[in-house]
């Protein structure tokens, strides 16, 4: 009988997970947090090296003469401009230009790509591959992946990799050997920090984990669960499927759907690329007419919020993790949008949120108010639309 799965790292992660705080991710159990409080895990991402099990990502290998053509057709990026060893972040849309999912495309060689996704997409890929010389296979279970994120991630990897990573640029990938095990390493991640993702055969998972944990011992390597990751990704201005947007394939009603422009992915929509791609017409129209909504960052004004709490004699009460809930955003007394994830940023010492605002309120610098609950009463804390990402260290791309 089918059950929820454990990742190939489970033997190690389960031994370390003190609070037995498990979360579900794409049919797998993953660690929510390893420690009783998540502060150390968060700071490992920002100050040392965080080791995160990201195996549940959906992974597809796309091979063949037309592999690039398929991805060029399905995604919004200009795949033909991609060189071998390059990784693109991209979304993909339906015919109406609404986002189905997002992930990364890595060009392994001329005719081989690896696509990651949040949700199953094999049917969509196959429907678009009709008549193309391409072979699509799912490797979600057979390829394990670890994310090593934080300023010390490179030095840790350099200690155990056959070839060093000093020359590996942001969003590039190399084949490498790690502790004697064949892996591919991409300079990617979900934290907005210096970081790498290591892709390996599932049977080598424990070996790679052990090698990294040992090599990182003197560099502050810390196993990190997805709760701390959730805080870091908000700081990095990165959204999440099913939290910050709904796949057009899942939406019950039209207004639940989002276009890439509405999510701030303008830079990933290559309207200048040649030929047809799914959603092109609708996206061209939206580009021309402007988007009705935009996802933006908002910063809640701490002093203003402090006052609302002070009125009842309390200091501000902010949870220590990211909040995944819909919080109304107002201008005057009119609701103009909502925040989908909010988080305290321990590094910035700010309360921040990813928010979806209607035109014209999404312009930078707009003053808005976000609904908060102060001692069971609805209040509205002053906030401002700010540029994303909230946090971007200089070493992220260096």
């Amino acid at each position: 009988m089918e059950k929820l799965r454990y990742t190939p790292f489970h033997e190690r992660t389960s031994a370390l997970c003190q609070p037995q705080n498990w979360r579900r991710w794409a049919g797998y159990f993953v660690v929510g947090s390893y420690e009783l409080t998540i502060d150390r895990e968060y700071w490992a991402i920002r100050n040392a090296a965080a080791l995160i099990d990201v195996t549940p990502l959906m992974k597809y290998m796309i091979k063949g003469k037309d592999a690039a053509n398929l991805l060029h057709r399905v995604t919004t990026r200009d795949i033909h401009k991609m060189s071998v060893g390059q990784v693109y972040y991209t979304g993909w849309c339906d015919d109406e230009g609404k986002l189905i999912d997002d992930g990364t495309v890595a060009r392994m060689d001329e005719t081989t790509f690896r696509l990651t996704a949040a949700e199953p997409n094999i049917r969509w890929l196959m429907m678009n591959a009709v008549g193309l010389d391409v072979e699509i296979s799912e490797v979600s279970d057979s390829v394990a992946s670890l994310s090593l994120q934080g300023p010390n991630s490179r030095v840790v990897l350099n200690r155990v990799c056959e070839s060093d990573l000093d020359g590996l640029k942001y969003f590039r990938l190399i084949k490498n050997k790690l502790g004697g095990v064949e892996v591919t390493i991409s300079r990617t991640g979900y934290t907005g920090d210096l970081g790498y993702e290591i892709w390996m055969d599932a049977k080598d998972a424990i070996k790679v984990w052990d090698v990294l944990m040992e090599a990182g011992q003197d560099y502050g390597i810390t196993p990190v669960g997805i709760l701390a990751l959730d805080m870091a990704r908000v700081e990095a201005g990165l959204f999440m499927l099913d939290v910050d947007y709904t796949s057009s394939g899942h939406a019950w009603i039209e207004s639940q759907k989002s276009s890439p422009f509405e999510l701030g992915l303008d830079w990933t929509v290559a309207l200048d690329k040649p030929g047809y791609f799914v959603g092109r017409k609708a996206l061209e129209k939206e580009k021309h007419e402007g988007s009705a909504w935009k996802m933006v960052g908002i910063e809640i004004d701490w002093v203003g919020m402090e006052q609302l709490y002070a009125e009842v004699g309390l200091p501000p009460q902010i949870p220590g993790t990211a909040i995944r809930a819909s919080m109304p955003i107002l201008v005057g007394n009119v609701q103009v949008g909502y925040a989908s994830t909010a988080s305290w940023s321990p590094l910035l010492k700010k309360y921040i949120a990813l928010a979806h605002l209607q035109k014209p309120y999404y312009e930078l610098g707009t003053d808005v108010r976000m609904e908060i609950t102060v001692e069971h009463q609805r209040k509205h804390a002053p906030a401002k639309v700010v540029k994303l990402p909230f946090y971007e260290p200089e070493w992220k791309k260096k």
Partner: protein, 527 residues
């Protein structure tokens, strides 16, 4: 000495009759329900056929019982509990199985084992069907408008229907038009490739009909059954505590609490009509009972052709009712077990027994079963939908023992040469040996069994043809055409005489809507 004057008489104490009685009593009316048998429930009954073993005799699951009826009649206070049926398990001929569980991830994994494409299609298909069902479901909650009528009421109704449809995208509207005409097989094959998944899904398209999965219009039947699933966790297929008889008991208890009287062993012989108006009924024992209105929850055949003199009815109506498709196509085998059947496909688990087990290895398998029935034979290898009530409600069997309910299709009412004991026995045997192929210990586990052919269903419950839905749920027998064009509105050509059973809109299944609608209409008519 009973006073034999009432505001309303309800003929038949099935779930619809009881619902009608409860609503009328709730409105302060003096109501009597006349039930032919020694117990209420009609086709919604639980009986202890073998001491200690409670059989949910005919209908066995519930999904469509209207939530407003549950609330209005306070059914939970009268014992109603609808317990979850968390899975559907289909054993396959190669020794494997395919199952749907109540969890998205495990179901996806399970289907993925057989076909990654089907695993994804399953999600998409579910959403498509749910959206379509959502668009047309409000029809179940309204009186069906007649599209040929220009009366403001009908026009408003049609407009409302149009509004529901306008929530659909162009793609979905095309899909809906296709579903209205397609066969279940054609529709499902557009989505899936795994035989056992196709077989199991297609079964919803043929239940209660005398059609095969490759017959046109069965796609709609499938959608009709989907409506029970669209409210997600709030409402899904379930099993009522105490079996479906538990539902009837709770409605009866509610009706009594509102002041309704329920008379058992009271067979109605005829409706008394005076001056073109129903004024009461005559019982077989000679008693006469009078009322301002008579609501019949019997099937359309009984209601129009048996209980009233046809001189009161227009010819086209009697003609339509004579031609109303109400041939039973399914039987029931209820079994008392000393142990659970062990399915070779999953021998070490009792988890699957909490849900449904479906013998439906492919569409062709079911279509072949239909072929038998088409020519007047019961299916030698039938489609069987099993549940184990004692695994869901432990009070259904003695501790350590079990009961098993098998819905079996096809068993034609008009079997060649007519049903007799030998054929019934052979039919039961065909079912047991079909199950035995997948669960070899079944035979030795049997303590006793009850085999019900459509003829038995007819003779016990009184439903003509033994069709549990009081007439097949086919598109041409639904909405403004149920049970006949021009007479879909619960009223009949005889003033004060109403159709309040599953033969009226919106149709069969333990829904309660016909009873509620008819009662509301009678109240509106000022009884």
């Amino acid at each position: 000495m009973t006073n034999n004057n009432y505001d309303a008489i309800i003929i038949g104490g099935g779930h619809n009759g009881l619902v009608a009685a409860a609503y009328l009593a709730r409105a302060g009316k003096k109501v009597v329900v006349l039930e032919r048998r020694h117990m209420v429930g009609g086709a919604t009954i639980t009986e202890e056929i073998i001491p200690g073993f409670k059989f949910t005799e005919f209908s066995y699951v519930v999904s469509l019982l209207r939530p407003e009826i549950i609330r209005d009649l306070k059914l939970p206070q009268h014992g109603l509990k609808i317990l979850p049926l968390p899975s559907t398990f289909t054993p396959m001929d190669n020794g494997d199985y395919i199952a749907g569980w109540d969890d998205h991830d495990t179901t996806r994994r399970e289907i993925y084992r057989h076909s990654p494409k089907d695993a994804e299609a399953y999600d998409e298909y579910g959403r498509r069907m749910a959206r379509l069902a959502k668009a047309i479901k409000p029809i179940l909650g309204m009186l069906p408008p007649d599209p040929t009528s220009l009366s403001p009421k009908d026009l408003m109704g049609l407009l409302k229907l149009g509004q529901f449809a306008s929530t659909l995208t162009e793609k979905e509207l095309y899909g809906l038009s296709k579903i209205m005409t397609q066969s279940a097989a054609d529709m499902l094959e557009e989505w899936f490739e795994t035989d056992a998944l196709l077989g199991t899904k297609s079964a919803s398209g043929i239940i209660g009909t005398f059609l095969g999965p490759r017959s046109p219009s069965t796609a709609y039947v499938l959608l009709h059954h989907y409506m029970g699933e669209i409210d997600g966790a709030f409402r899904a297929w379930g099993f009522a505590k105490g079996g479906t008889g538990g539902i009837a008991e709770s409605i009866a208890s509610s009706a009594r609490a509102f002041g309704a009287e329920i008379r058992l062993n009271a067979t109605v012989k005829q409706v008394i009509v005076k001056g073109g108006r129903a004024v009461g009924v005559a019982l077989e024992n000679g008693d006469e009972i009078y009322a301002k209105a008579v609501l019949s929850s019997a099937d359309p055949f009984v209601t129009f052709l048996k209980l009233v003199d046809q001189k009161y009815l227009p010819d086209d109506l009697t003609h339509s009712i004579k031609k109303f498709r109400t041939r039973g196509s399914s039987g029931k085998v209820n079994i008392a077990l000393s142990e659970l059947p062990k399915f070779t496909a999953l021998p070490d688990s009792n988890v699957l027994h909490r849900g449904a087990v479906s013998i439906s290895p492919s569409i062709d398998y079911i279509e072949r079963a239909y072929d038998d029935a088409k020519y007047g034979r019961f299916a030698k290898e039938p489609y069987v939908d099993m549940i184990f009530p004692s695994m869901i409600d432990p009070d259904m069997a003695p501790p350590g023992k079990h009961v098993m309910s098998c819905f079996v299709q096809y068993a034609p009412y008009d079997i060649e040469g007519g049903w007799d004991d030998t054929k019934r026995e052979a039919f039961g045997e065909a079912v047991i040996s079909t199950i035995e192929r997948y669960a070899p210990n079944i035979r030795r586990a049997i303590i006793g069994k009850q085999v019900l052919t459509p003829l038995d269903i007819e003779s016990i419950s009184g439903i003509t043809g033994g069709n549990i839905f009081h007439g097949e749920l086919l598109l041409h027998q639904l909405f403004f055409m149920r049970p006949a064009t021009k007479w879909s509105g619960f009223r009949t050509p005889i003033k004060g005489y109403y159709l309040a059973g599953s033969g009226a809109h919106p149709g069969g299944g333990i829904m309660g809507s016909p009873g509620k609608f008819a009662a509301e209409l009678a109240l509106k008519d000022g009884i």
